[in-house]
Symmetry: C2
């Protein structure tokens, strides 16, 4: 098994080339303000109340919590989890949210959160009271457009996940997860070929609709094929085209 060098990109920290000029919240730099004028960004800034930190394993919000504020991941990473209506206690990881991602968009529907959000590492999030935000969106069309885009993107993302669970074999699913994660990190300014996966094998399996054993076996096989170098949660992608061809 190849050695793993210690210095790997964390899944979360703010990338340097996106250095924030607002120490309160990285929101302005990833998530909402793309395509906004500086004037519009000022309007946005007013509706962000403050930030909050959560420790690894802590829950940001539960299913059924009243929906007061939207969240945007400032640093760290969180998973969202839903339980099956069928009382069997079956749960599934529904999403992985990295720095800059929005959180809580599913709650506009009923006014209650429809999933749990759990921190995968010590993280911090921005708080955005949604009534303030909605008012700002009514005053600023660019901001409105941005909110609609965020919601729409979440729909597309969930569709992609449904497609993965509906059509791909286990090894294709694992490859898709690794490539997706790589692309998202690259988009945030990382190299993208090496990262510290905060999900457990169990979480990965739940997310992909397979068992943790299958995840583990698949990663081992990818390693034997020379596609990746995996050492526990530390994963390095060696052959992108090979992974894509799975």
């Amino acid at each position: 098994m190849p050695t793993v060098h210690g210095a790997s990109a964390p899944l979360s920290n703010a990338p340097s080339r996106h250095a924030a000029h607002c120490s309160t919240c990285a929101l302005q730099h990833y998530c909402l303000p793309q395509g906004l004028s500086s004037e519009d960004v000022n309007a946005l800034q007013k509706v962000i109340v403050n930030a909050r930190t959560i420790k690894r394993g802590e829950t940001l919000f539960h299913v059924g919590d009243t929906f007061d504020t939207l969240y945007a991941v400032r640093s760290g990473s969180l998973k969202t989890v839903v339980s099956a209506a069928n009382g069997n206690g079956r749960e599934q990881v529904m999403g992985l949210h990295l720095g800059g991602d929005a959180l809580g968009l599913e709650a506009f529907d009923t006014g209650l959160h429809a999933c749990h959000a759990v921190a995968l590492e010590d993280s911090s999030v921005c708080l955005i009271p949604h009534v303030h935000f909605e008012r700002a969106c009514r005053e600023t069309s660019a901001l409105q457009r941005r909110l609609l885009q965020l919601l729409s993107r979440e729909i597309v993302r969930k569709s992609t996940q449904t497609l993965i669970l509906g059509t791909l074999r286990a090894d294709e699913r694992v490859a898709a997860l690794l490539l997706d994660l790589s692309a998202r990190l690259k988009h945030r300014g990382y190299a993208g070929n090496e990262f510290n996966l905060r999900l457990t094998r169990d979480d990965m399996g739940s997310f992909l609709g397979i068992t943790l054993e299958t995840v583990s076996r698949t990663l081992s096989r990818f390693q034997a094929m020379g596609l990746i170098d995996a050492n526990g949660k530390l994963i390095q992608i060696l052959d992108f085209d090979g992974l894509r061809a799975i």
Copy 2:
């Protein structure tokens, strides 16, 4: 096999107790105006340009089409279909849209439609230019809230579908589809225990992430168990609790 009586609820026609007072578009009665004052509904009415009819099998919009208008199903039903990025030509049915459902919400993200929409029967849809709609949302907070709710509901719906594909066995998936369809029809004013399913077994399988043979076998088993009475696309639910207990 029990006989099937001819008069069954179509999947689509406008239910009588929701009789539209606007002959142009049923949109006002199902989809957008819930919780809006009559004044607000007037504001909404202005942004609806007109309606369009599509024949069974025709496509309302394709992947990659520029996003000009939102749609709301006026009568009939449509399926949305996406293709896997992996060029294998694998396709999956992503959604089933009945009267009153919105269509095209996924396109706010990129400005291009991310799926195909195909009519399952002769149908008609309302056309809502989204720029007009967005302006109206900026002027009417209740309308804005309604749009956010629609987008959010779509996220929740897709999450539910992901959960189904990720955690349920084949028979549980089929049962979930039947119960979901029944609930949606009941919500539209039908009895909900008998309906004409417009999806083929192939479409159902694609939607549920299983093969058409498994769908067929499962329905046959449900019939043998006395849970349903299925005759081709005509399906009657005999034992709701039994289905829920699968």
